[in-house]
């Protein structure tokens, strides 16, 4: 095998050439990865290693009308313990004092905590829960405990911070304030979510390893924008009163549910809104927003609308005498309208029919004057916007319903008489209240408002002003008449609301006791809706209020005056005693003329009389004493009030130490 050097080199060139080809192949493959498959792998890279982290904005606060907090976001802390983090020396040294501290703070015995810690260490528990939802001060306190004060690495304390929504009022107005949840937020929180929630920020982060992420840039790609604060119209005091009054009455009557709304007459601001529903075990809580969402047949409270329509059309006057027909009116030989009083009230005036809430009386009047032309009556109601929803910011407003004679499907021969006393029509409590409020507000129908202002710190972002739906729903004359009727409901002995009468404060309103499930064959299923709508004080109304209670226990009571009225009364009474009207001095700078006059007289006497007795008759005793004593005279005073007589005459010379007697009266 003769091998020459040339032989070797030739073969070497072949091999070197092959290696070069291999190198070229590597480069070609590399370029193809970068270009042909490049997009795919680059996408994979960002998918695997880059993530867009959301930075939650801080949710805005919700305030009541006077600035007290209704809802706010606070930091809450969960404390956990990594039982393996402390070394044995530290663990043994601090476990006793730590358990003592825990015992003092959380109540369980020290040995309990010692056991807990030892067990966690034995089982190598590195994430043992100690306490949830601690406030900031409690968290700081726990952090300062022995062992824990060594920090997370030596002491094993694990702190997790969470932002929680807090409701300082607790269950009061919970449903109306609502809550912030991902799907279908409710109440004020839900209605004003767009202002409260703020905007999410974004930050791109790159995965480093083992679930660690590092920000790619020094700044956030999108800065989070904190939510705005919302100032609502809710008055915490009135809300509290309304809530508890309603709760007491619901419990007393074991009713299914109920609501109460208090509204400021002039501005339409809702001062309180409480909705309580019964749970299976008989407790009540803010379940659904009945006041806003539940349309129902109003019953007798609707008689106000009927009467106003009749008065406005001037078909009758309040002194029109109607025969209540022994308490039963029959239509088409079948359909009967009954009065709650057996045998009826005989022949009474329209006003008395209203005050007594005579079904037959009101129905007869409406049927008599509108029976030929029901359109006229319905159009009158439509004119007063009773058929339109209020357009509230809160979601879920119930639709009102009043059938029109043109709507053949829903109109029938008995629609008019039924409508006259509040059947066959549907309205929500808030819609009825808005109407009653318009009466209290002399015909100006204002939209109920739950929100006053949207703020960012101290800057007003949006202001919600009074919104007038209808500047005059009827003539002032009609208003004055029905106001008197409403007042009489409570004041007159025969009024259905007379039980609520109190000489100490005045109120006006209308009771309502509507039947529910009356179409059912089973009489047991017949239920009632007791309501009371009105305003107070009767003469110059400040607040309007409606109370609706569904399905009170029939054995306890059903009538509006018994079931709902007391809530109304309690609210009115409490607002009077708990929130007294305070007289304020409007302009302190502006001088009071009479005081000025007295002061001038006093001043001139002091100036002019240095050695003679001045004339102090007619001055107030206090002024006279101070002038005379300053002159060095002893003064004796008899009686109270102004100086009637002075024992030493004016103009006489002063002797030092002289005594002068002033007779006051």
């Amino acid at each position: 095998m003769p091998t020459t050097e040339k032989h070797i080199l030739n073969r070497l060139y072949v091999i070197a050439g092959l290696i070069f080809v291999f190198a070229v192949a590597v480069v070609v493959k590399l370029v193809s990865i970068q270009t042909v498959d490049g997009d795919k792998y680059r996408e994979l890279a960002s998918e695997r290693t880059v993530k867009n982290f959301t930075i939650e904005p801080n949710r805005g606060n919700l305030y009541s009308d006077d600035g007290s907090l209704l809802a706010t976001s606070v930091a809450k802390y969960d404390i956990r313990f990594d039982a393996l983090a402390p070394n044995s020396e530290n663990f043994e040294k601090h476990i006793k004092p730590l358990s003592d501290s825990m015992s003092v703070m959380f109540g369980k015995s020290s040995s309990y905590y010692q056991n807990l810690f030892r067990k966690a260490r034995a089982t190598k528990n590195r994430y043992m829960l100690l306490s949830r939802n601690l406030g900031y001060t409690d968290y700081i306190r726990v952090k300062s405990f022995p062992l824990f004060n060594l920090g997370p690495y030596k002491g094993g304390i694990i702190v997790e911070q969470e932002t929680k929504r807090e409701y300082p009022l607790g269950k009061i107005a919970k449903r109306s304030i609502g809550y912030d949840r991902l799907s279908n937020p409710v109440g004020l929180e839900g209605a004003f979510n767009q202002y409260l929630e703020g905007k999410e920020g974004h930050r791109l982060k790159q995965k480093i390893a083992k679930g660690q992420w590092k920000p790619i840039t020094d700044y956030n790609e999108v800065e989070p924008q904190d939510g705005y604060d919302v100032v609502s119209t809710i008055d915490v005091n009135i809300q509290d009163i309304a809530h508890h009054a309603l709760l007491a009455q619901l419990e007393k009557y074991k009713a299914d549910h109920g609501c109460v709304v208090v509204m400021d007459v002039e501005s339409g601001e809702v001062k309180a809104i409480s909705n309580l529903g019964r749970t299976e075990n008989g407790k009540y809580y803010e379940k659904l927003n009945y006041a806003v969402g539940e349309s129902h047949e109003p019953g007798s409270t609707f008689k106000l609308m009927s009467v106003i329509a009749a008065l406005e059309d001037k078909v009758v006057d309040t002194n029109y005498v109607v025969d209540t027909e022994k308490g039963i009116l029959t239509f088409y030989n079948r359909y009967k309208v009954r009065d709650s009083k057996w045998g009826g009230y005989g022949k009474i005036s329209l006003s008395e029919a209203f005050e007594r809430s005579s079904n037959t009386g009101i129905v007869k009047v409406i049927d008599k004057f509108y029976g030929d032309d029901p359109k006229r009556f319905v159009n009158r109601l439509y004119n007063m916007r009773l058929n339109e929803p209020l357009g509230l910011a809160i979601k879920g407003e119930g639709e009102p319903f009043i059938p029109h004679p043109n709507d053949k499907e829903r109109w029938s021969g008995i629609a008019l008489p039924w409508m006259a006393y509040g059947y066959g029509v549907q309205m929500t409590p808030l819609q009825i209240l808005t109407f009653y409020n318009a009466i209290a507000n002399n015909g100006v129908m204002v939209k109920p408002r739950l929100i006053k202002e949207v703020k960012e710190w101290n800057r007003t972002v949006m202001k919600f002003d009074k919104e007038v739906i209808n500047s005059s729903i009827c003539s002032q004359e009609t208003i004055d008449k029905v106001k008197a009727l409403l007042k009489n409901v409570v004041e007159k002995d025969h009024g259905t609301g007379h039980k609520l009468y109190s000489p100490n404060f005045s109120m006006a309103g209308k009771t309502g006791t509507a039947q529910k499930n009356y179409a059912a064959k089973d009489r047991q299923k017949l239920q009632y809706i007791s309501s009371f709508a009105g305003f107070f004080p009767a003469d110059s109304p400040k607040y309007s209020c409606i109370v609706v209670i569904h399905e009170p226990d029939k054995s306890v009571g059903i009538y509006g005056a018994d079931v709902s009225g007391p809530v109304f009364k309690r609210v009115a009474q409490k607002i009077y005693t708990d929130s007294p009207v305070i007289d304020t001095v409007k302009d302190l700078e502006k001088p009071n003329p009479s005081v000025e006059e007295k002061y001038r007289a006093y001043y001139s006497k002091v100036q002019n009389h240095s050695n003679i007795i001045p004339d102090v008759e007619g001055m107030s005793g206090m002024d006279a004493v101070s002038i005379l004593e300053n002159l060095g005279v002893k003064v004796k005073v008899v009686g109270n009030g102004k100086v009637r007589k002075q024992s030493v005459k004016s103009g006489s010379k002063i002797n030092k130490g002289q005594t002068i007697v002033l007779q006051l009266s």
């Binding site: 070797i8 073969r11 070197a16 190198a23 590399l30 490049g38």
Partner: protein, 405 residues
């Protein structure tokens, strides 16, 4: 400094390429060491940098020391080293370190120094020098197959069978290198074919034995099969995962790369400081860095060919190729793995990857090459001295040209 340069002999281009690669290696090593520190939880980044610097410094010292040895001594050295290497391989295999249940006894710890030593790399070097020596020995005669069996193939068989249980890819590469060297050295092709056939039969026997009696001896047969399978098919496996990460790194690198230290995938690629360092280099330095590296290795290949060309005798030529070609092959195999031209083998990138043995053995090989080229220089100097004496005035310009190739 002057003194130092005066003492440096041999091909200056090889010196330059080696130093360039060594200097460059600090960048990816330092960058990718975050993987070891923060993911694996091993040491500090500065620690890894200092360790790498120390290894390289010792490596350069090895090159310097070895290239001072006249290459004729390597003949004798390979004969002496052979039994030592076999002993070391036995020790390595015997201690049986396992990785995830599979035999991975590739390293032995050098006592006192505390550095792991991959014996197979040293064995490869010694074996190839041995083969080069034998081929030189038989260059002038016609050999029968039988008479080569004992002196040539027995050592090859013993060494390879000791490496095989723990490291198939290294075994295959060493086998390939031996074949290559025999081919270049003029060993008859028909004999080579029989050896390749025998090699395949041996491998098949080994795999079958391992499969039939799994508990008989520790081996990595399952790992090999799964790696080859994952290269062939589309199913997702651990190797695919690594390759995919490497490709993501290459794709994100683009033309100019993300910049030094900005690699993202270094945290997800296992072995990002050794086996997959090329992918990290492409990610950080882009196509530019990738091509530069390819160019440097090709330049090294070119200089090795030049040195082989100039070597005055057959042993010189074969020796240079025996130690030089594996470096180049290893480099391109490493790159080929990263771009998925080759199954995952666990070959390091010579002079770039971290890892003491890899660097030192490469340095040893470089030292041998430089030793051959330094000998040639001496001769040229002597020859030109004679030439100058002969024709005092005139210098032949062709003499210088001829040195270029």
């Amino acid at each position: 400094m002057q003194q130092l340069f005066k003492n440096i002999k041999g091909d200056k281009a090889i010196w330059a390429v080696v130093c360039l690669l060594a200097l460059f290696s600090f960048l990816p090593i330092y960058s990718a060491s975050t993987n070891l520190v923060y993911v694996v939880g091993n040491g500090t980044t500065i620690g890894h940098l200092i360790k790498h610097a120390a290894l390289l410094f010792i490596g350069l010292f090895i090159i310097y020391g070895v290239h001072k040895i006249p290459y004729r001594y390597f003949r004798a050295l390979s004969i002496i080293a052979m039994p030592v290497v076999i002993l070391l391989l036995l020790i390595t295999l015997a201690q049986g370190t396992t990785i995830g249940g599979a035999n991975a006894s590739r390293w032995i710890r050098i006592p006192f120094v505390g550095i792991s030593f991959q014996t197979s790399t040293l064995a490869a070097l010694v074996l190839l020098i041995h083969v080069a020596r034998y081929l030189t020995k038989i260059k002038d005669k016609k050999v029968a197959f039988k008479e080569t069996l004992l002196p040539l193939w027995l050592p090859v068989f013993v060494v390879l069978s000791l490496i095989l249980p723990a490291n198939f890819s290294t075994t295959a590469i060493i086998f390939g290198m031996v074949m290559l060297l025999c081919f270049i050295g003029g060993y008859p092709l028909k004999y080579l074919m029989s050896i390749i056939g025998a090699g395949i039969v041996c491998l098949a026997l080994f795999v079958l034995t391992a499969k039939a009696f799994p508990g008989l001896f520790p081996n990595r047969v399952d790992t090999w099969i799964s790696r080859v399978e994952s290269f062939m098919d589309d199913a997702d496996t651990e190797s695919d995962y690594q390759i995919e990460k490497a490709k993501i790194a290459i794709a994100t690198g683009g033309v100019v790369g993300l910049g030094a230290g900005k690699s993202v995938m270094k945290n997800f690629l296992p072995q990002s400081t050794s086996d997959f360092i090329y992918a990290i280099i492409v990610e950080e330095y882009g196509l530019v860095g990738a091509l530069t590296l390819v160019f440097l290795y090709l330049l090294l290949l070119f200089r090795i060919v030049v040195v082989a060309h100039k070597a005055e005798d057959v042993f010189g030529k074969l020796l240079v190729l025996a130690v030089g070609l594996p470096i180049i092959f290893q480099a391109f195999i490493n790159m080929a793995v990263a771009v998925e031209l080759f199954p995952v083998t666990g070959q390091t990138l010579p002079l770039i990857s971290s890892g003491g043995t890899s660097i030192w053995m490469t340095c040893l090989a470089i030292g041998v090459i430089l030793s051959v080229s330094a000998k040639r220089e001496e001769e040229v100097v002597e020859a030109s001295a004679k030439a100058t004496q002969k024709n005092k005035v005139e210098e032949n310009p062709l003499e210088v040209l001829s040195e270029q190739l």
